[in-house]
Amino acid sequence: MRAKSIRGRLLLWLAFLLACLLAGFGVTAYQFQRINRFRQIDDELVQRVEALSDDARERGPFGPPPGGFPPDGDFGQRPPRRPPPEDANGPEGPRGRSVQLSAQTQALFNAADMNGFYYEFWSRDEDVLKRSANAPGTLTMPERSAPSAVCQMRTRGPFREAWHFNKMGECALVGRNITADLAAMRRFVLLLVFAGGGVLALGLAGSGWLVTRALRPVEKISATASRISASNLSERINTAQIDSELGHLADTLNSAFAQLEAAFAQQKQFTADAAHELRTPVSVMLTHAQNGLASTCASDEHREAFEACQRAAQRMRHLIESLLELMQLDSGQETIKRQPMDLAHVATECVELVRPLAALHHITIHTELAPCQYDGDSQRLAQVISNLLANAIHYNKPDGEIRIRTQSQNGAAILTVRDTGRGILAEDLPHVFERFYRADKSRSTERFYRVDKSRSTAGRGLGLAISKAIIEAHGGTIQAQSVPEEGSEFQIILPCLPS
């Protein structure tokens, strides 16, 4: 599973978009609600301020004074300042100036309700002419900053207040405790948050479902594609149930698979044809050379020529087999037949097979074969082990030693073959698994891995390449280590299969 899946990223983007939309909607709804609420409160306050002011004008002592209005100029004269009344809450104001509220206005206020509307009425000297019982004690007369009869608003702590000054400089103020309204707004915010969260969750669940549905054909395509392997190239993605956009992709993949299948078939055909074309002439050479050798009338010279032909034919035969085997391993035609087996057991059999050859060269084989369970192709692995042992014998010193060891480590099967030969030079070491690589090809006689010309060199140069191909087909690794003049070590590591 990759860290960044399309599904995850799509969902993340959808969640982000949805959250933005919901937040925008929530803020707008909140603002709208808040403005409405305050407008309503303000309207109510203004209505009351005006009612209060009207009452004060109608019933106040400021009707035309007895004896008519004073002459012009005297009108604006301020009455002398009076001390504040002892009972500011009383229905009677301080001397001379009392404000009576009409029943109609009174009904607008409910003194008993601490959260209801309250009022206060000041004279131009900031004397309290009248105030309601529920007016907060901290109430002060606002500064006059607007023309008469224009209502002004303020929010003071939990109170929303509206006031205006009349022409006489008296101030009527009506207020209201808006704690409950603010609490309601907070509840509204909570509601918005919860509703938004719910919508977000629902939206994400829905998008998750949609995304999964939309990606299902992709999964189907990838499942089919992963089923298609060297041994099963004929399967195709079913494009009938796939939408046009993905259908195009599926078609492209299908045509790629078809090309791959054709290429594989071609390769297979080529391998088979090459096998036939190469083996038949070698058969002819071998048969005739052997006929010539069997003939009683052949001279020594003829015999020598036939022997040379036969040797060359045998070498070509091994080479052809090795090349074809490599080709089959490369193309995946030769599949590994995995079966539970004991690597130590396979190694024992291989050692027994090469023991006579080792004895011929006075080489001792030491074994340390611990049981080593592994699921592999025992025939193929035996081929690898035999090849390593044959090399270890071939490149050893006379009276040398070979150590073969198997061990199980962290579930991996490990096999090591060590010889006491002349070793491999460091610069040759990386190339020993290459095809036809011969360490002695340039500086023939003085090099390690010197080949005795009398021994058959058939197939040499491909043995390690084939071994590597077989081990890699098992998912394992093969490595070579060497100390010149001391010996070489080949190690196979076969990791256990993930079950």
Binding site: H276, R279, T280, V282, S283, L286, T287, Q290, N291, A294
Partner: protein, 217 residues
């Protein structure tokens, strides 16, 4: 012993025929599938060496058609050496399978084994009243002493020994011992039998007058 070799590569066919004849077999060559099938159906061979890739009629088809009428032992010879090919060959009715290129020694050994098995003899030695015939080394001993036989004499003796208890007609002997290239006179057979009797004792091969020869069991 008479063999049929079906192989389309002329040089290989020539080499095979020569190798087999040197080993004492009577060998008929066939260069393609149709010729091979015709010969295989119309003569009694002791074994057939059959290539798979043949023009006109391939080895599989030839084998399938031949098996409808005859159970002649067939050794398949092929350049395709995969397990699937080997299994297919054996399942199609081949008795053995040899991949090209091969060593002549191995081909000869396999043919001997094939003919021996077809005659119902599992071991390569046949012992008849003090006469030991080793089909592997083609050496005949009488009371422990090797007896020198010509290739033709040996072939007659081996054929009769492998068909011990049966009366083998002169015609059958001619068919199995002489190939198309031979134009030997018929009375030569009597000369060879006379010679064998001289070397191995008169009572070994009985003459059934008017029928043929027989080694009694």
């Amino acid at each position: 012993m008479k063999l049929l070799v079906v192989e389309d590569e002329p040089d290989l066919l020539k080499g095979l025929v020569r190798a087999l004849r040197r080993d004492g077999y009577a060998v008929d060559p066939a260069a393609d599938g149709e010729e091979g099938l015709y010969k295989a159906q119309n003569a009694d061979y002791d074994a057939i060496v059959l290539d798979i890739m043949l023009p006109r009629l391939d080895g599989w088809e030839l084998l399938a058609r031949l098996r409808k009428t005859k159970s002649t032992p067939v050794l398949m010879l092929t350049a395709r050496n995969t397990t699937a090919d080997r299994v297919r060959g054996l399942d199609a009715g081949a008795d053995d399978y040899l991949a090209k290129p091969f060593d002549n020694m191995e081909l000869l050994a396999r043919l001997r084994a094939l003919i021996r098995r077809a005659a119902g003899k599992a071991v390569p030695q046949i012992e008849i009243r003090g006469v030991m015939i080793d089909t592997r080394s083609r050496i005949v001993t009488r009371a422990g002493q090797p007896v020198a036989l010509t290739a033709r004499e040996y072939a007659i003796l081996e054929y009769l020994a492998l068909h011990r208890g049966e009366v083998v007609t002169r015609t059958i002997l001619y068919e199995h011992l002489l190939d198309e290239s031979d134009d030997t006179l018929s009375n030569l057979l009597d000369v060879h039998v006379f010679s064998i009797r001289k070397k191995l004792g008169h009572d070994l091969i009985a003459t059934r007058r008017g029928q043929g020869y027989c080694i009694e069991s």
